[in-house]
Amino acid sequence: MIRVQEQDFDPGSELELLRDHCAGRAGAVVSFTGLVRDLNEGDAIAQLTLEHYPGMTEKALAQIEAHAIEHWNLVAAAIIHRIGPLAPNDRIVFVAAASAHRKDAFSACEYMIDSLKTEAPFWKQEDTPGGKRWVTAVDEPISS
């Protein structure tokens, strides 16, 4: 399940949907929730704005999810990413993997968020006391 949206999401509801979908076949559900930190590189963050590339984003996320489901034999998976303006402690992203065994659920969840951070076309702009600035990529660059 892939969603890109401005509005907030509820991790509890998403986990419950995954569990309903698994219906006894999954023993392990691992989730990652990304939150807006109030400090980055020593500067206070008043607001974070997420820009994305509509269309390509959904394609990239669907590919990441499909690869995870196949490679780790997941029962279910989910990726949700917010766009637009966000405040400190707001949720940005949610990634979850449900599997029969816990190692697979951990590996798949970590793979999905790692891949999202290098392969999905989202860009963060921070609002700091010194003005707006684009966040610089620190992870590996996007690959072809």
């Binding site: 990413h81 940005i92 951070k117 076309p121 989202f122 860009w123 684009w134 610089t136």
Partner: protein, 83 residues
């Protein structure tokens, strides 16, 4: 026509995020298309003269020299920072 997309800091620097252009007859790959856009002025030249700039054709990242055809959507953007 080819649809050109620019995102994030590139969109801001170039002052445009989305435009349609008629592809000149002698341009048939993204490297030639990028060079043609860089000839617009110094700002365009500098902004696209950056090895970190990524190029996507029809919403898939491609390597230098990838072909461009009439009807394609081509996007330039900096390394991604979501998640």
């Amino acid at each position: 026509m080819v649809r050109l997309r620019f995102f994030a800091s590139l969109r801001e620097t170039l002052g445009t995020g989305d435009e349609q252009v008629e592809l000149p007859g002698d341009i048939n790959d993204i490297s030639a298309l990028t060079a043609w856009l860089q000839a617009r002025n110094d700002r365009w030249h500098a902004a696209l003269d950056n090895t970190r700039v990524r190029i996507a054709v029809n919403q898939t990242i491609v390597k230098p020299g990838h072909p461009v055809r009439d009807g394609d959507e081509v996007a330039w953007f900096p390394p991604v920072t979501g998640g």
